[in-house]
Symmetry: D2
Subunit: 253 residues, 4 copies
């Protein structure tokens, strides 16, 4: 596990009067000039994004920011009830829920899309094979299905629209539609392409590595959870649900 | 601790074909139209920010995003070494370090600035009193001092400049300069107004509650930590430092 | 913040065929011979505890292990709903709530008890002063008061009893009773010495540093949260409360 | 995801003067009478363990408690450097590393052992198949191999010995040895049965569900991390490694 060679870093250098982030002067070239999203993309992609790429990354980050009283939001509010001052802990608690079930499935979807993309002309066969494997293992297909948003998820529809408008829909966006057609054919009905599925596709076309995609969900959701902490100061959801638990859930030996 | 009255939420409503975030249609009015920062401000402030406010919030978020191989970044890289797939856990681990010492001091600073602001015409006396109290308790003054950036922190300078350019510098920005003058007078030398100090001032003038300010640092740093995870895939800092620990730090009974 | 001198470690050394923990062979002298609690105390205190000390530490760890559907337990169950496989994340989320309000107040209590202990013969005056300060600042006194367990907390009573039986009640246990008398005199009624208060006292007499005491609560609660995860597999509290939140808490613009 | 039926809890009931944990009076029947490990096992298994079971669970918890300056311990120390007071956050950060690579592999191992156990008389064939699958996918076999402890891990050897001495070695302990033989045959050399592998086997024979086993590692490691926080107060490993990172790792554009 140890590494002999001294690593380097390309992220940041601090001098007494200047901070450099990926080759840009932080105070003069980024602050006041660039947006959060452009600077985030600079860190992740290694270069400033185009305006079109920025619009798409913004849309991805907005899509996952807020989805109501999710289990993650409830966890954040519960920890804030325990420790109201250390809000970083409350946010971190909620972020731990950005996993395979709520908002973190883009990584697993991207692996499948890569399989379709790499199959090239045989993409449809690859898609068929993916669906068959999932059904044989009786596992859900990441990126497909939503308990509420049917037949389509408005966020997914919008992401594809933005990607196409801005000329950023490529092999991954094609791949998810190929896969979607095979999913529908196999199940005999239309399954929603959900938001995490659409995000996997558009981030794939932006060249974001599969195993980094979930980071976009974390950034996005961290912003949403700050919103929940603001609201919790006036609307005490944690205390309400805690009271519910105490009054409704009985102890039985 | 329990609450009888049923709380409400003003954050988000999901319908089958539409998601509404604080009164705005998420897919059509926010995605593709607004930036991450505008949407984050909408959640926290309850209304869309002006372009000037957006620029200032962007600058705040960019200021704290990346500061090199901080203990937080090292913690994130260490947890990624243990669990490379669940990057939300690695990011959460690092965010737990957004505390009083590295990037989270804006909350404590804001409390002091509020004291100066509320003293109105007697602000200078309040500032004198704050400095005297801190010195009597031999405690550092949050918002002041930096081990490296002297005499001034370029990020703080830039934040004040942006706030002034955009007409957003108000009572809190004045207050930190009043406090700074008293700090310098008391110590007989100039202490840096650091980035978290400047952020406390400009966010205070935007009306952000003291105990929510640290949330801006968390959002900002979460983006920076994704950058570290990207880099860690090629530059194995965690393995290097772990190897250092194993080879350099001896066990003694 | 950086340190020039190379640190050492006294905790553990791994050789190919032997692991040494604080001077003891892990496989032959600890495993199968010592208990969890003895080994934990060895790490924290630097030597194996006496049987009496072990019994007291066991009682401390048992006292805080389980207290029903606390906000911490709810947070853990919520994150398990999001990410059922990575149970370390669910447990960590709950542990983040071991703060000043639910189970982590022993650190703040211990600081007060140290003040009384160090005052020696003037302990009563120090206690009077502590109570006066807290009342002037309208702050609750850590270690005192409980919403449910009145007039006494059975866990606190039991901890004092065990400490006395085993000859381990010293200056800190005396101090909390001196402080309790002043609290009662000032408030004109008896306030419960709560479990965290009692723990601060008995751990203080064991020589545990103030700022490490909360670690006992974390170890204890981690065991309790594993119990909640076991139960959650059959009794889906998280899904129930999440459903409650969705059905009861309305969105209002 | 929502659940209509009101769940129940069997863990804890609090009355004004009495707390009941799984049918036992916490203050009188558990505190001062039982050990931490017995009470933990009570929560997880639903009944008090036998003395033999207790000894084995103690050995499991001790086996993983401390293994030196692991990435988890470094993460904990780094977060303590950022936020020295909220040690629950520092511990939680380290625990997030109890994943598939460092100390959390028992869950994945247990799934394989269950496959061998359920194959009954055809256990050897099942084991052969497991090894063949892992090799075809070029994946490591969880529970086998250790970078340092060769040919055998002294903790694993000891766990098997204790389980046998106490009559607790059953189908799972047999299964891991069947699997080990197939591993060695396939690789043409002996691979270490590592500690997490041995733990999966002995906990399997105790009837602990696969997906709860990692909880034992979390409890165990939480105790070890408290030891690291104690030591960090005197031996500043975090500051040392942070200084190393700053001085050794260069920024390159």
């Amino acid at each position: 596990m140890s590494s002999k060679k001294t690593p380097i870093t390309r992220l940041c250098r601090s001098d007494v009067d200047k901070i450099t982030v990926r080759g840009h002067d932080l105070a003069t070239e980024l602050m006041g000039v660039r947006t959060f999203t452009e600077t985030f993309a600079l860190l992740v992609m290694g270069r400033l994004p185009t305006p079109q790429q920025t619009r798409l990354v913004d849309a991805v980050l907005i899509a996952l920011m807020e989805h109501g009283l999710t289990p993650q939001a409830i966890a954040t509010r519960m920890i804030a009830l325990c420790e109201p001052e250390a809000i970083q802990a409350a946010i971190a608690a909620g972020l731990l829920g950005v996993g395979s079930r709520f908002g973190g499935a883009m990584a697993a979807t991207a692996v499948l899309l890569t399989e379709v993309v790499q199959a090239g002309e045989k993409g449809q066969e690859a898609a068929k094979d993916i669906v068959a494997r999932a059904r044989a293992q009786k596992k859900p297909l990441p990126g497909f299905g939503h308990p509420q948003h049917k037949p389509d998820d408005p966020r997914a529809v919008r992401l594809f629209q933005i990607a196409r408008e801005d000329g950023l829909a490529g092999a991954y966006v094609s791949a998810i539609h190929v896969l979607s057609a095979e999913v529908d054919a196999s199940f005999g009905k239309h399954l929603t392409i959900n938001t995490t599925g659409a995000i996997a596709a558009v981030l794939g076309d932006l060249g974001i590595p599969d195993d980094i995609m979930r980071g976009f969900a974390v950034v996005s959701r961290s912003a949403g959870l700050v919103g929940h902490l603001c609201e919790e100061k006036e609307q005490q959801v944690a205390a309400y649900l805690y009271g519910m638990a105490e009054s409704e859930i009985q102890y039985i030996e």
